[in-house]
Symmetry: C2
Subunit: 326 residues, 2 copies
């Protein structure tokens, strides 16, 4: 085992810039998992990857593309941040199981089976009924397992998530969500899901997105860290990481697009509402990745020892990444 | 009302040729609804339409594209067959509600919300669980209603079908299936579905595809016509038509593609099996559309009067088409 202390934010979707990458490095992040698709199809994703290739060239002193856990070690050594690609939706594979291998070759390492709505693979958490993982879903999970793409069920519904945990022969991830025992939002997860996730070796990335937080923007650091402690009691500290869901720097038409994509002509407000349609404001103790420092202090104060704090802030995700291609 | 006697086969997917179009005309078919997509996406469908445009040019003495009920009258007068386009799947609209209008402009008049599997809109009859019409499904049905594309639930699961009947503000169709009281195949429909369909003004096209028939290829004309009589007792003769599901002339890799598309790497045999994977053989009294003559005699023999026989063999579908754009 590696004795380093790694810091990993396992979900960010910021308006990428030199400034953001510098902030991430200031926060000592060795790796981030970034979203490169919400509703994009295969060709559209290729364009997003082209953009990332430009970032990797332009900001090569700050970031490079991560493909295996060894890139996390490399980033740590070189004081850079390894950037791992993921999809929040299965839209890029369209209806073609053959595209799973294509996106793997492009470096995709995480894929959500659903983004809020029903997909061809499973049911999203905003649907009224949840029929679980579909016929195609079973086939695609097998393919993802074979290749080394992590099944991510952050935006999925309950039965679909339990199905995915059972069907996947590798641990799955919930890269960004919180327990519903703390705040009962549609996107947060039941104790049943959290327990099944942990029993199968999976990890949940606790989210700092205000719509997933008790008291939203006004959530306190203490409340968040107490939630982490209760979650650790419930499922064990080894199954907890951070997936901040930071969406900073974007204009509000981005959150509108995330919610509506091209699936509806009636405006959908997702976790917001007509009167509260915009990106929510981050709590002041986690405005950007430098908030990891506050999390560190807060978690210590709540009673976690140093090793446990390190586990939560990155080492658990590092170990999870080690398992992806095993 | 038009006092003509129309003959309509509301589902065919043959290997199109002059011979087939001549047979359809020999059978006096004034209209056929043809499948132009099983798994195709938007661009692939455009290619299929290009092929059809060639057929319309090459065989202009036999066929032309139908867009409204008036084209059925025109075809009857000119002794041709009007060809109406439909999709057996929603794959051509991909995940984009904006494409519904595009496919309407291309002449699409029927679209199944699902083809056996879960789609973005609803659940197919081969899935284990049926969550009904999805969030996107509701939006797309509204759009189809507004434009004049018929919701077709032939390959859909029970709850999804009942949902679609409820949600659609226009009558829906089951273009090709049989009642499960007669033969309990996955593709056939329950009494609940048949009753709800009829109550909402919809029509079912009775299927001549052997996997939907009692005793399959050995099904007798008598048995088929008795089934039609019982269905008429259950839901009223006005809600029954023919959707033969004729797939003649194709090589067996076509049925393999229909079943497997690009959704699985594990071979799926659909209604067949590993030992019985090919297109089934048609019963001898319905080898092609000329079997309409046998149906006419069979239905009369079962006790339907002439007006009722005419209703079943085309007039009910003609009236249904009249309502599409109302």
């Amino acid at each position: 085992m590696n004795s380093n202390i790694f810091k990993i934010d396992n979900l960010q979707y910021c308006k990428w810039s030199k400034e953001i990458f510098k902030i991430n490095k200031e926060a000592k992040l060795d790796a981030i998992h970034v979203t490169i698709a919400y509703h994009e199809d295969f060709d559209e994703v290729k364009k997003n990857i082209d953009e990332w290739e430009n970032y990797f060239k332009e900001f090569k002193d700050l970031i490079f593309q991560g493909k295996t856990f060894k890139d996390i070690e490399k980033a740590h050594k070189e004081k850079k941040t390894a950037v791992f690609f993921g999809f929040q939706n299965c839209s890029p594979i369209e209806d073609d199981i053959g595209l799973v291998e294509e996106v793997y070759k492009m470096g995709i390492r995480f894929m959500q089976l659903t983004y809020n709505n029903q997909s061809l693979l499973a049911t999203g958490c905003y649907e009224k009924n949840d029929s679980g993982v579909t016929r195609m879903g079973k086939e695609v999970i097998k393919e993802m397992n074979n290749l080394g793409i992590v099944v991510d069920m952050s935006h999925s519904a309950e039965k679909s998530t339990l199905d995915a945990i059972k069907i996947s022969r590798k641990p799955i991830a919930i890269t960004h969500a919180n327990p519903s025992f703390w705040f009962d939002a549609k996107r947060n997860k039941s104790n049943d899901v959290l327990k099944a996730l942990a029993e199968s070796g999976g990890v949940i990335g606790l989210s700092l997105y205000p719509h997933h937080l008790k008291d939203k923007t006004n959530c306190t650091l203490e409340s968040f860290c107490e939630m982490a402690a209760k979650t650790a009691e419930l499922i064990g500290v080894k199954h907890i990481g951070i997936g901040s869901d930071l969406c900073i720097g974007h204009s509000n038409n981005v959150v509108d697009w995330m919610r509506n994509g091209t699936w509806t002509k009636t405006k959908d407000y997702g976790e917001g509402s007509a009167n509260n349609a915009n990106f929510p404001k981050q709590p002041e103790w986690f405005r950007d990745a430098r908030g990891f420092k506050n999390l560190e202090m807060g978690l210590q104060k709540t009673g976690f020892n140093n090793a446990e704090v390190n586990d939560i802030l990155g080492n658990n995700w590092y170990n999870f990444y080690r398992g992806i291609n095993s």
